[in-house]
């Protein structure tokens, strides 16, 4: 379903839940739109179950933009196997700014070692990016790690901090405020504006955490 969002964007709704199959369809369609490119289409923003297409209203009407998108949607092939880019992220668990590792373990009634084992025990998909430049929203966590966000967000979380909230995990690319439970820290740089590819992650990537000392 395609709906206008204001006078310069259109929203493609591909589902109404956080689900890996729907999300993969979002990334597949996003890849098709990016490869096709069309004069007046400015950029696309994939999220969990939607794809937002920004267009220039000086060049395109809503109908023209929607017609182009509809045409491209016919190329989405659910049976085609798309191999995501795979990335490994070294994490020093417990080494976060004001680490919540022990607090999370206590509230879940398991040990810190269990948290590390569960968190690093599976691969995650970057469902979408947002919040601050380069922040990956990844899922889905093992049920035993699911916790609501902090009641009072921290005013400062250091760049590289690995955190969890709800059924998701993420990494703070910049020093910023944050409301997620901090459980570790990675020495990787998630965002370097001077680099040719400024962002470590892209939506649709598959990510595995590797515990380091």
């Amino acid at each position: 379903m395609i709906k206008p969002l204001g006078d310069s964007a259109l929203l493609i709704q591909l589902g109404e839940e956080i689900d890996i199959t729907i999300n993969q369809r979002v990334h597949a369609l996003n890849a098709i739109l990016q490869a096709a490119s069309f004069h007046g289409i400015l950029e696309t923003v994939p999220a969990y179950c939607t794809l937002l297409v920004h267009y220039d209203p000086l060049t395109l009407t809503f109908d023209q933009a929607a017609r182009w998108v509809r045409g491209q949607m016919e190329w989405v092939d659910d049976s085609a196997h798309r191999t995501p880019r795979r990335l490994e992220v070294p994490v020093r668990y417990g080494d976060a700014s004001g680490s919540d590792l022990e607090a999370v373990a206590a509230s879940k009634g398991i040990s810190a070692a269990d948290i590390i084992r569960l968190h690093s025990g599976r691969a995650y998909t970057v469902y979408m990016m947002g919040f601050t430049p380069g922040f990956p929203y990844m899922g889905t966590l093992d049920e035993r790690l699911v916790m609501p966000r902090l009641e009072t967000p921290r005013t400062l979380v250091k760049a590289g901090t690995v955190a969890i909230a709800g059924s998701q995990t993420g990494i703070y690319p910049l020093d910023s405020p944050g409301g997620w439970h901090t459980i570790g820290w990675t020495p990787l740089k998630l965002f370097d504006p001077a680099s040719e590819s400024p962002f470590l992650f892209a939506p649709g990537d598959e990510v595995k955490f590797i515990p380091i000392e």
């Binding site: 969002l5 964007a9 956080i18 923003v45 999220a47 809503f62 947002g130 601050t132 400024p198 962002f199």
Partner: protein, 318 residues
């Protein structure tokens, strides 16, 4: 070259914005009031999307290191140089050694200072816009020397020009802003939508380049105020659980998790940007995408043809 003698508030470089990085979480940025931004460039003979200095919620004083032509546009400011005070929306000649003081008065929040030849600012991720929260682009500090480019045109032809802004846009502290219905309209009761369209809102004092929080009659949701996060744009009106609207502005997040009741049109965003906290009485009126786009194209056309030459001598400061 301009030397920065004093700055307060939010003073940044802004071009038309940073495009193509929203999927990584980088907002577009760009001017809060795109019309005033583009008009400042039109007055000084620059490309409309060139980088200018945006002065917000504060003041700035610059000293010209060599002769230059400057224009200041926007609302809520006046500009003084040497012993004169100029109205906004004019271009004028500034002699080397003289100061340009962009002074805060009432009636708006944002001013734009353009210089003939443009500012020589480094481009980061394809844009010269400063995004403070993401540490992108140049900041402007007291003591800085701002490098400027060379104008292709004669100073005499660029100075003493005006832009008849009232022909194209009516800044007001009681604006009726046109909105396009949002994609989550069905998250709200009919009463909720009527409240939004028929009440008056004021701008809260907690506002910045990211978003404008409005205060007024709370808007009721039908069920939950939580939405699975999705992309949004400048002008998107989100309604969180407390029912008070938040309008996303230039540095607004690329995605959001509250239902969007509507979107302020491109043509009317400058009016909202210049609303004053606690003073303005804001109303909304629904329009269609087609009509919103037609008005945007119309204001854009005005920018390309609107600049007028005036021959009043005191715009030429010696």
């Amino acid at each position: 070259m301009l030397e920065v003698l004093d700055v307060s508030g939010l003073v940044t470089f802004q071009d038309a914005g940073r495009r193509g990085w929203q999927k990584f979480g980088v907002p577009v940025s760009g001017p809060m009031d795109w019309f005033a931004h583009h008009a400042a460039n039109a007055l000084t003979g620059n490309p409309l999307d060139a980088a200018v200095i945006e002065i917000g919620l504060g003041e700035a004083i610059f000293r010209a290191r060599r002769d230059c032509v400057v224009a200041v546009t926007g609302a809520g400011y006046e500009v003084g140089t040497y012993v004169w005070t100029f109205p906004l929306w004019t271009s004028f000649h500034v002699r080397a050694g003289l100061n340009v003081h962009v002074k805060k008065i009432t009636g708006g929040n944002w001013a734009y200072l353009a210089i003939a030849g443009g500012f020589d600012v480094e481009s980061v991720l394809g844009s010269r816009s400063t995004y403070i929260r993401g540490a992108l682009g140049d900041s402007i500090r007291i003591g800085d020397s701002l490098q400027t480019g060379k104008s292709a045109r004669d100073f005499d032809k660029l100075a003493a020009r005006t832009f008849p802004v009232e022909k194209y846009i009516t800044y007001s502290q009681s604006p009726v802003l046109e909105v396009v219905a949002g994609p989550q309209k069905e998250c709200f009761s009919d009463d909720g939508i009527q409240t939004f369209l028929n009440s008056e809102y004021t701008l809260s004092t907690s506002f910045d380049r990211m978003g404008y929080r409005l205060e007024g009659s709370p808007i009721a949701h039908l069920s939950s105020a939580d939405l699975i996060s999705e992309g949004m744009t400048t002008g998107s009106v989100q309604i969180p659980a407390n029912g008070q609207p938040i309008v996303m502005m230039a540095d607004g997040p690329t995605t959001g998790g509250y239902p969007k009741i509507a979107n302020v049109t491109h043509a009317n965003l400058p009016l909202l940007a210049q609303c004053e906290a606690g003073v303005s009485r804001i109303r909304f009126r629904e329009t269609t995408v087609e009509s919103a786009q037609a008005k945007y194209r119309e204001s854009f056309k005005g920018l390309q043809t609107g600049v007028m030459s005036e021959d009043y001598e005191n715009l030429d400061v010696w």
